[in-house]
């Protein structure tokens, strides 16, 4: 849920609305906001499943430190969604375990 009116903060700067695709579902988002914020606003709280226990994980530190929030974004696994800005048309997938690693990632 988005906070439309706030008693202290000025109105949210009008952002550009775009669509992203989360596990095939179209989700409205603001360009530039973290992917995690767009998902949470849309009621999506489960971002990935852990490798061994297959437990769900979501948003935890919001700072890019804990890696709880990693998802597969545009085919790249383990992207920290709390610090990665939304771009229109992004394809975001709930990640299972460590995800599928591409060559480009492996060669880092």
């Amino acid at each position: 849920m988005r906070i439309e009116k706030h008693p202290v903060l000025p109105d949210r700067p009008a952002g550009k609305k775009v669509d992203i695709f989360v596990d095939g579902r179209k989700v409205e988002a603001y360009e530039g906001e973290p992917i995690a914020a767009a998902l949470w606003a849309a009621g999506i709280k489960k971002f990935r499943y852990t490798r061994k226990e297959k437990q769900p994980r979501g948003y935890f530190c919001g700072l890019g430190r804990c890696t709880d929030c990693v998802m597969t974004v545009d085919g790249v696994a383990n992207v920290r969604t709390c610090i990665t800005p939304v771009k229109g048309g992004m394809v975001v997938q709930t990640q299972k375990g460590l995800g599928i690693w591409k060559k480009r990632q492996m060669s880092w």
Partner: protein, 373 residues
């Protein structure tokens, strides 16, 4: 790519920004670097009015202070490098940096000021990994910066200032705060903050803790219970609270990995958050030319972070001969006076004492190593 600077400030929170302003305005070539897309550190999530004296911006909200500091940085000619993580720091002050997750570079500096802030502590209990359990700071970021409500019904764990302030901010954002639980038999943070949320009907349960969080793939309820004098749960006191958000406000730990890497000596000061790089009154660590300021040098608050940032800046300026010793002394005197004021009273005295311990530990280490430099 390789870059050079007189002073490299790592971290653009209140401490780093003030260090940048102090050094930049006296003519040093300064780079302030931060991993985030925007500077300000924790300041931009702080939307309440600050206490203290006029000169510490009492009555001004954190994010407004942030705007002001950014403006001053610009005036002082500080170069701001954002979306840049410092991943390593050598004792010769070569910093390894990755920009925008892609390009790699090094920055060499004559002096380094570490202002890397703190990270939130976590707490483990059955269900702590369920989506909907998060750091109080994470909730604050979500609602105050991204304007998304982290939950509709919340339980806050911990009654320190972060727990109390974030509870109030949750209420402001339109989230019901069901309770604040505190394992100690007293509220940790400022009374005014506690009273403010109590007046709004929030239960502050002292001698209570969270025992478990339950739900199907997300938080649905929390079980809290009373603790005895040894902080152990008392059977039969459990009660279930229906919530979709559980915030952890159980303290902060100084972020000082870079100081370890550069070879700084540490001491353990639990009242200031744990291991802290030893430093002197002028914020210089045991590695000459390397300074530390703000939460990284022991958890305090934004106002002290700003003063410490300036103090570190003055030290760097003096040793680089941008200002005279007399000028440095007079600036230091003023800042130390401010810090003394900020570290007074029931919430300040202990910080003053701990800081004094840090200074004297620093001295011991330096004497052992054969005098000061």
């Amino acid at each position: 790519m390789e870059k050079k600077a007189n002073v490299l400030v790592i971290g653009a929170g209140p401490a780093g920004l003030c260090a940048g302003i102090e050094t930049g305005k006296s003519g040093a070539k300064v780079i302030v670097i931060d991993e985030n897309t925007r500077p300000g550190g924790q300041l931009f999530k702080q939307i309440h009015r600050f206490f203290g004296s006029e000169q510490h911006h009492a009555g001004v909200r954190g994010f407004e202070i942030g705007e002001m500091l950014l403006h001053k940085c610009k005036e002082a000619g500080v170069e701001m490098m954002l979306s840049s993580v410092v991943w390593g720091l050598s004792p010769e002050f070569r910093a390894g940096v990755v920009r925008e997750g892609k390009r790699s570079m090094t920055i060499t500096a004559d002096k380094v000021i570490l202002a890397t802030g703190a990270s939130e502590n976590s707490l483990m209990f059955p269900g702590w990994t369920l989506p909907g359990v998060m750091g109080a700071g994470a909730a604050q970021t979500m609602m105050n910066i991204h304007r998304v409500l982290p939950g509709k019904r919340a339980l806050m764990i911990g009654s320190g200032n972060v727990g109390l302030i974030v509870s109030y901010q949750l209420l402001q954002a339109g989230c019901e705060v069901k309770a604040v639980v505190e394992i100690l038999p007293r509220v940790g943070g400022y009374k005014v903050h506690a009273n403010k949320i109590a007046r709004l009907g929030v239960d502050i349960l002292i001698s209570h803790t969270v025992l478990e969080v339950r739900g199907r793939e997300r938080v649905e309820e929390a079980i809290v219970g009373r603790g005895d004098r040894n902080l152990r749960p008392i059977p039969g006191t459990e009660r279930t609270i229906s919530v979709d958000l559980v915030c952890l406000a159980v303290g902060l730990t100084p972020l000082s990995e870079l100081a370890w890497l550069a070879g700084c000596k540490f001491g353990y000061f639990p009242l200031l958050g744990g291991f802290v790089p030893l430093h002197n009154r002028g914020m210089e660590t045991t590695v000459s030319g390397m300074y530390i300021a703000g939460d990284a040098s022991g958890i305090e608050e934004a106002s002290t972070a700003m003063e410490e940032g300036r103090l570190a800046g003055v030290g760097a300026l003096e040793s680089l001969a941008f200002i005279s010793a007399a000028e440095a002394d007079s600036r230091r005197k003023e800042i130390e006076q401010n810090l003394l004021m900020l570290r007074k009273g029931p919430y300040g005295d202990f910080r003053h004492k701990e800081k004094e311990k840090i200074y004297s530990e620093w001295k011991k280490v330096k004497e052992k190593a054969g005098g000061y430099h």
